[in-house]
């Protein structure tokens, strides 16, 4: 009991990630001004807001690509910020997968190698096992036919699906999506969102920074609206998107939903 204490305790409350008054600045620019959010296991949270509102920085703080200056982040009950940040980095990166706006596939590796390399280097899986896992995941995201292709031979949508498979190969407990469809041609957006829908349906805990309001409405259990480094409003999508309380949310939605 005691040896497995941490994850068990975390499960009891159902909270996987909790942010408490997280602040981040770049030089003089205060990007996050004290953000507090909790995410439960299996929850899909969509983060929306104008550009520059700190959405992406929030994600990057969660996996410590940008360590926050103030505030606490707990992952599965364990603090990963402050004094714990040194060990926190490994702890987080083994549990949290991230998908980027620009895909960031490794251009000198084939699709399959992109999905296997970290399994081998980080998880010490033997090549055959990593390969089997990689092939399974690539088939799952509909890339079974393109496993040996290099990224520059793939469309943006295909690259992004490989990037999702690459993150999933590490068996993450939580997936972070940073505007993953923003760099895609419109006709390629759906294939990526479909993969994410499927993931959500399977019960993956997901934090999704997005401009796809339809996706948020359909898939999110909760929507977080951010502006100017703060969480302005949070709640079920029907409320936040359908009937926002805050003036700033209304304004933003007015601008986004007009077209």
């Amino acid at each position: 009991m005691a040896s497995q204490g941490e994850p068990q305790e975390a499960d009891a409350g159902g909270v996987v990630i909790s942010l408490d008054n997280v602040c981040k600045r770049f030089g003089d620019l205060e990007v996050l001004k004290g953000v507090s959010v909790e995410i439960s296991r299996g929850e899909v949270v969509c983060v929306i807001g104008p550009s520059g509102s700190g959405k992406s920085t929030l994600l990057r703080c969660i996996n410590l690509l940008e360590p926050p200056e103030q505030g606490r982040i707990l992952l599965e009950g364990q603090e990963i910020t402050g004094k714990a940040a040194a060990e926190g980095v490994d702890f987080v990166r083994r549990r949290v997968g991230m998908v980027f706006q620009q895909f960031n596939l490794f251009p000198h590796k084939s699709a399959l190698e992109n999905v296997t390399i970290a399994q081998e280097k980080v998880l010490d899986r033997d090549p055959a096992e990593a390969r089997a896992k990689g092939e399974e995941l690539l088939r799952r995201v509909g890339m079974g036919e393109k496993m040996s292709e290099y990224p520059d031979r793939l469309s943006g949508g295909q690259q992004q699906r490989v990037a999702i498979a690459r993150a999933l190969a590490m068996d993450p407990h939580v997936m972070l999506f940073d505007e993953v469809t923003s760099a895609l041609d419109p006709e390629l957006v759906k294939e990526v969102l479909d993969v994410m829908r499927e993931l959500a349906a399977e019960g993956m805990t997901m934090i999704v920074v997005t401009h796809e309001m339809q996706f948020a409405r359909e898939v999110a259990k909760r929507v977080v609206f951010m502006d100017d480094g703060l969480v302005v409003e949070t709640g079920p999508p029907d409320e936040v998107l359908g009937n926002p309380r805050e003036e700033r949310t209304k304004q933003f939605l007015g601008l986004v939903l007009e077209h």
Binding site: F100, F106, V122, L154, Q158, A163
Partner: protein
């Protein structure tokens, strides 16, 4: 006019002196290849050390930067003279025999000590040049590559080794080859230490015969190697540019999303 032709292109002399000149050139080739390989490795070590992250490692970065500044800013000949003078002295009674003779005055693999002084000086200097080339390559790899690798749980070192450096090296092979050509020409400075490499061999004949044909022969031997290398560099660069212009939506040009039809057309599910 005849004098000019005779002075530079006395084919009879060239034929007679071909043996010794070629022997000198063979020294040049051995020296270039060995110093070239060592500079490539030493330069990469310097470049990677320079990229180490975090405040505690700032002194390491500072030392590397100072090293590169010094060795890029000082003539190779000066380095060569300081290296040979110090090592030679340190192994002699003059220097209190600080070094064993076999190290201070090395004659490894049957090569004379000036050869090894040359290898050391060339590596010290060209390591610094090549470190700068590698650095340009490393910095040209988009930041997202390191972030993606780190987000998958790789350490900084693993990310550099598996993701960043392999991409960087691909980008910098042409400039590294250029540096190698420069290195090869600079091996002639070892003549100052009494090693009869190709330029020294030619110069000896010029001094005794008052005729430069042996030097011209040496030049031709150089060109036989350097011109094909220069063409190879050109071809690699133009091939690389072709690739970038074709540019599907790859990571390389992640900021500029090429929206042209080839990218999607080519992949076309």
């Amino acid at each position: 006019m005849d004098f000019i032709l005779e002075y530079y292109f006395d084919f009879g002399l060239m034929r007679d002196q071909f043996g010794p000149v070629l022997e000198g050139f063979w020294f040049t080739v051995k020296l270039s290849v060995l110093a070239g390989i060592l500079s490539l490795a030493w330069g990469l070590v310097l470049a990677v050390l320079r990229q180490l992250p975090g405040k505690p490692l700032a002194p390491v970065r500072g030392l590397v930067i100072a090293y590169i500044d010094v060795f890029r800013g000082v003539p190779l000949l000066l380095v060569l003279l300081l290296v040979s003078g110090f090592l030679g002295s340190a192994a002699s009674p003059v220097g209190g025999e600080l070094l064993p003779r076999s190290i201070g005055i090395p004659e490894w693999f049957g090569q004379p000590s000036p050869f090894w002084y040359g290898v050391i000086a060339l590596t010290l200097t060209y390591g610094a040049y090549m470190a700068e080339v590698y650095r340009a390559g490393i910095e040209a790899v988009p930041r997202g590559q390191m972030e993606a690798a780190r987000s998958l749980g790789m350490s900084h070192g693993e990310s550099m080794r598996n993701i960043i450096v392999p991409q960087a090296i691909r980008k910098v092979i042409p400039p590294l080859l250029n540096d190698f050509i420069a290195l090869m020409k600079d091996t002639s400075l070892v003549g100052f230490l009494g090693l009869t490499e190709v330029v020294q061999a030619g110069f000896n004949f010029q001094s005794s015969d008052f005729n430069g044909s042996a030097l011209v022969l040496g030049a031709l031997l150089f060109l036989a190697v350097t011109i094909p290398m220069a063409r190879l560099v050109d071809r690699m660069i133009s091939r690389d540019q072709g690739k970038t212009q074709r540019g599907a939506a790859s990571d390389r040009d992640s900021d500029i999303q090429p929206s042209g039809p080839p990218a999607t057309g080519m992949a076309g599910a």
